[in-house]
């Protein structure tokens, strides 16, 4: 099993390396016993991306609660419509477990892709918002970077699973989905800050849940 190394993550969070950063040679050599960079299994990769998505969700929650103190009945008041809500995503355990792995993986990547551009846009937007505390700004930036890392990581896992034959290479729709992502990102830019954060929080949770489901479907023996 050849492990194609990822370029070092562009993230600013060195504490959460998604993958081994030593490059291809090192990663392969790791099989021979480099303790610092072992050959990562799919399970390891899944654990990492799941943890990473969890952190993103936590950050989003923190940001959300800072800006919008959780008032239960506020939830539906604005009748928000997230730009990703048009995507047909599994919203229950049954569906999520029935949907083909490839499709679930694809959906996950789609979700992440859909947030890349709106997040960077959001960052630029709130940089000009003086009323936002610095804390929020840094959190938003962090989220943006982490989403990028997460997407890279999920792509990595996907590649590996494909190379191992766990899922087939039917992710051809990626390109088209990127296009749709661009189209809906405009929609995202129209959202209010609170709606934006709320929607992102929800989708980050979605991503995490899908990744967990995927992992447990692929490797049910692995702490599932």
């Amino acid at each position: 099993a050849a492990l194609t190394p990822l370029p070092p993550p562009a993230g600013t969070d060195p504490a959460t390396p998604l993958l081994c950063r030593r490059g291809a040679g090192a990663a392969v050599a790791a099989v021979a016993g480099d303790a610092g960079c072992r050959l990562l299994t799919v399970a390891d990769l899944f654990d990492r991306v799941i943890r990473h998505s969890g952190r993103i969700h936590s950050l989003a929650t923190a940001l959300c609660e800072k800006r919008l103190p959780p008032r239960d009945n506020e939830l539906g008041k604005s009748a928000r419509k997230c730009h990703t809500s048009g995507m047909l995503t599994p919203n229950g355990t049954e569906y999520a477990q029935k949907i083909p792995r490839e499709e679930l993986t694809h959906l996950t990547l789609k979700l992440l892709q859909a947030w890349k551009e709106p997040l960077s846009h959001f960052n630029q937007h709130i940089e000009h918002h003086q009323e936002l505390p610095d804390d929020s700004l840094s959190k938003a930036k962090q989220i943006s970077n982490m989403v990028h890392e997460l997407k890279t990581g999920v792509e990595k896992v996907t590649e590996k699973m494909q190379s191992m034959g766990i899922i087939n290479n039917s992710l051809t729709g990626m390109a088209s989905s990127e296009a749709t992502g661009l189209s809906i990102s405009n929609e995202a830019n129209m959202m209010s800050d609170s709606d934006f954060i709320h929607c992102f929080r929800r989708d980050s949770n979605k991503v995490q849940s899908y990744l967990k489901i995927l992992k447990c479907r692929i490797m049910p023996e692995n702490s599932c």
Partner: protein, 827 residues
């Protein structure tokens, strides 16, 4: 004149009045105590109404006295109960006292007191009105009733909140005047039936403490009794919860049903959808709830929920409730919590906790990930120690306090969202005390070994105890002419004591030291032969005799009494050889160290002798008295006298005759000494006992009596010089040099030479007068002789102690040195 006078008086009065009127100032008006009241029998307050203040600043002072006392006290607290009041706190309130209370108003001009008010705290109890009166209508079995609730009156002192109040409730329709009163009792709630539907009621409640007064009525509460035409109240959605992130349930609380059967409809719509759905399942989760199964549960979707209550009169819709199921996940508590105590061989025991996720939660699909937190505390502890465990279902607890019982609980929550479950049921684990069998064995071995060592040591101690004692406490060296005493008395066994006493008696040492006694001993060794019965058995009997001594005589008596002495002396071949020697011998047999006693004893004797001389008094002692006294005091000596008299007539007589005759004695003594020496030598060959005796005697000179130089010593008997007066010449007999000069101090001769005693076994003792004198003193107490009276107590004591030793010596010396042959002539 009269008119003038009256008019002038009037004028004056007028003036006075106008003066008052002008200034408007006067002494204050009379204040009035309005009421006194106790809220709970433990404190009370009094209020007063000020009178006119006389247009001047007026101070009000409340004084009170108690019925049992004369004293007046001032109000302890003017502030707590507001202006013009006085508050008596617990410390100032006594329920069995009648207070006499007066308020005095004072200003510059004068003061004025209120009428006294008598207060009995028990009778002025009136609590505050109850509070928090709430009303609601309910319908049961088609009958509508009013349900009223309230709280007891709040007290300033919360700690005394345990009072039991009786309550009364009154109500009336709003438009009516008459109240209907209902006695409630001690409960704080009341159910009122028979109400008119559609009428608005006014309700009040009041309370009473024991037999005090009723409180004021509480503030009015109003309620509209629904008539049959009103719709139900708005229901309230309480909460929604998903136990496993797959389904969820919402509960609501119905409002008043308006007196009619009411239907509740649960409606929801999802985010982004306009369509409204009704609850798919009203029953599964119980009354007033709606259950959403998996199919109806969507995540990352907001549900907009409302509950609509409907009866025949109309309907009412609750406020909308928005739910995102992702964030309402609250799992059930973990199950199968097990606590296991692991005891690895090499380390301390530790606790292993394991548990299972709640059965509903499907953690295997990855859809729901649970995180766990456990808490534990010692059973009696107050604070929980909380440990976040993460996603694992097992945890090892180290460093638990041994010997304590711990309570453990675990709860769980989904990661990143949702809320914590309830705590699992309490599990208990007893941590054993922290020692292992291994340690026990080691300790037991150590214990056994150490006790064994102790045993051995104590055993050897018992066996070799004396030696060890001797080793640790070496024998006290022989004293250098010290008084008897302390050593002996302190350490002495009875035998030693006896012997010591026998020799010395116990004069106060100080006295003894000042005395010098000189004596001359003469023994007729023939006597021994004459009395074979005594002599023969002696050496062998020695051991036996000693016990006898003990038996027959107690304490110093054994030594004191000549009878015993003589007996002993007779018995011992070495002759009376002094009790000491005998005893010492015995002791020596056992312990060598004891020898010192003997020498000490002798030395002290010598000293004593010396002192005797020193304290010479006139020889008022009739010569004839001596023998008598002796006879009297020492019964057994009588025999001795007889014997000696028969054998040594001359000596005795000569002694008795008087001082002048002492000369005659000397030859005798001389001969005696010659003989004695010989005999001594002979005796040296004798038994060991004898040797000891000899030794003793030899020791004597060594023992530094100033008079007895080592050289002279052997042969010498006593000689004394008195320090006070002219030195007395002592009789000394040396084989080599017989110096008559020594004896020849004329003046002294009188004093020194007397025979104090003649003891059996042919011993003659020459005693100086002084000494005789003392002897007599001793004996006198017993005999109650007139001379006795003349002597001071100190002297008696001295003499007492002196005589005894001297006697011993006499015997001793006699036994050893006397050559029977030397006595022959006298016979």
């Amino acid at each position: 004149m009269k008119q003038k006078l009256t008019s002038s008086v009037q004028i004056i009065l007028l003036l006075a009045l106008t003066a008052v009127g002008w200034t408007g100032q006067s002494y204050p008006g009379k204040p009035k105590i309005i009421r006194c009241r106790s809220l709970e029998k433990e404190t009370f307050s009094c209020w007063w109404k000020p009178g006119s203040d006389g247009r001047l600043p007026t101070n009000y002072t409340l004084f009170y006295s108690k019925d049992s006392e004369e004293n007046f006290y001032e109000c302890p607290d003017y502030r707590t109960s507001g202006p013009n009041s006085c508050y008596f706190d617990k410390n100032h309130t006594n329920p069995w006292t009648t207070y006499n209370i007066t308020v005095m108003a004072t200003n510059e001009i004068g003061s004025n007191s209120s009428d006294p008010q008598y207060v009995d705290v028990t009778s002025i109890v009136q609590p505050d009105a109850p509070v928090n009166l709430s009303l609601e209508t309910k319908t049961s079995a088609g009958i509508m009733y009013l349900w009223a609730k309230w709280s007891p009156p709040p007290l300033a002192d919360v700690s005394s909140n345990s009072h039991v109040y009786h309550y009364e409730l009154q109500l009336k329709p709003e438009e009516k005047e008459e109240w209907e009163t209902i006695s409630v009792g001690v409960q704080t709630q009341c159910k009122v039936t028979m109400l008119q539907a559609g009428v608005k009621y006014v309700v009040q409640v009041r309370c009473m403490l024991d037999c005090g007064e009723w409180s004021e009525w509480s503030s009015e509460s109003h309620i509209q009794i629904p008539n049959g035409e009103s719709p139900p109240e708005k229901p309230t959605i309480i909460k929604c919860r998903s136990p496993e992130k797959e389904t969820f349930t919402c509960w609501w609380k119905p409002g008043s049903d308006g007196g009619h059967p009411t239907n509740y409809t649960f409606l929801y719509s999802k985010e982004g959808e306009q369509q409204v759905y009704e609850c798919p399942d009203y029953r599964t989760a119980g009354p007033n709830s709606c259950y959403f199964d998996k199919k109806h549960t969507s995540f990352w979707t907001i549900y907009n929920i409302t509950v609509k209550a409907t009866n025949k009169m109309g309907s009412n819709v609750s406020d909308p409730h928005y739910v995102d199921v992702t964030y309402i996940v609250q799992p059930d508590p973990p199950v199968n919590v097990t606590l296991e105590l692991k005891k690895p061989i090499n380390t301390k025991p530790y606790l292993v906790l394991s548990w299972s996720p709640p059965p509903l939660a499907d953690v295997r699909s990855g859809w729901l990930t649970l995180e766990y937190e456990l808490r534990l505390k010692p059973e009696e502890g107050e604070e929980w120690e909380t440990v976040f465990v993460g996603q694992q279902t097992q945890y090892k607890m180290f460093s638990l306090n041994p010997g304590k019982k711990y309570i453990v609980q675990i709860h769980c929550k989904p990661d990143h969202h949702g809320s914590w479950s309830e705590w699992s049921s309490e599990k208990y684990i007893q941590i054993p005390t922290d020692f292992r069998v291994k340690d026990m064995v080691v300790w037991i071995i150590v214990g056994v070994l150490s006790s064994l060592i102790c045993l051995i040591m104590s055993w050897t101690m018992v066996l070799k105890g004396y030696r060890m004692i001797a080793f640790i406490l070496p024998p006290v060296p022989g004293p250098k002419i010290k008084g008897i005493d302390t050593h002996l008395l302190e350490t002495g066994k009875s035998e030693e004591l006896l012997s010591a006493l026998g020799c010395h008696g116990f004069p106060p040492t100080s006295d003894c030291e000042e005395l010098l006694i000189e004596y001359l001993e003469v023994e007729d060794s023939e006597d021994q032969q004459l009395m074979p019965s005594h002599d023969n058995g002696h050496p062998s009997k020695n051991a036996k005799r000693i016990p006898k001594e003990k038996d027959s005589d107690s304490g110093r008596g054994s030594c004191d009494s000549p009878s015993v002495l003589s007996e002993k002396c007779r018995e011992s071949r070495a002759l009376p050889s002094t009790l000491q020697t005998q005893d010492v011998r015995d002791v020596q047999e056992n312990k060598e160290g004891k020898r010192s006693w003997e020498t000490e004893c002798i030395a002290s004797e010598q000293k004593i002798l010396l002192f005797n001389n020193e304290s010479t008094k006139e020889t008022t002692w009739p010569a004839t008295q001596l023998p008598d006294n002796h006879l009297f005091a020492y019964h057994s000596i009588v025999d001795a006298h007889k014997i000696t008299l028969s054998t040594t007539n001359v000596n005795i007589t000569s002694f008795l005759v008087g001082n002048e005759e002492h000369q005659s004695q000397y030859p005798i003594t001389e001969t005696l000494h010659d003989d004695m020496e010989k005999q001594r030598e002979m005796e040296n060959l004798h038994s060991k006992t004898d040797q000891t005796t000899v030794q003793v005697i030899k020791n004597r000179p060594n023992d530094k009596s100033p008079f007895l130089n080592p050289k002279l010593m052997d042969y010498v008997e006593v000689h004394k010089v008195r320090q006070d007066k002219e030195p007395a010449v002592l009789l000394k007999h040396k084989e080599n040099s017989r110096k008559s000069d020594k004896y020849t101090v004329p003046g002294t001769s009188k004093e020194y030479t007397k025979v104090s005693t003649v003891v059996d076994h042919n011993i003659l003792v020459l005693m100086p007068d002084s000494r005789i004198h003392h002897t007599s003193v001793i004996q006198e107490p017993a005999m109650e002789m007139p001379q006795n009276l003349q002597q001071g107590q100190a002297e008696k004591n001295m003499s007492y102690c002196l005589t005894v030793p001297s006697e011993c010596k006499r015997e001793t010396s006699g036994s050893e040195y006397m050559d029977p042959s030397s006595f022959m002539p006298f016979k």
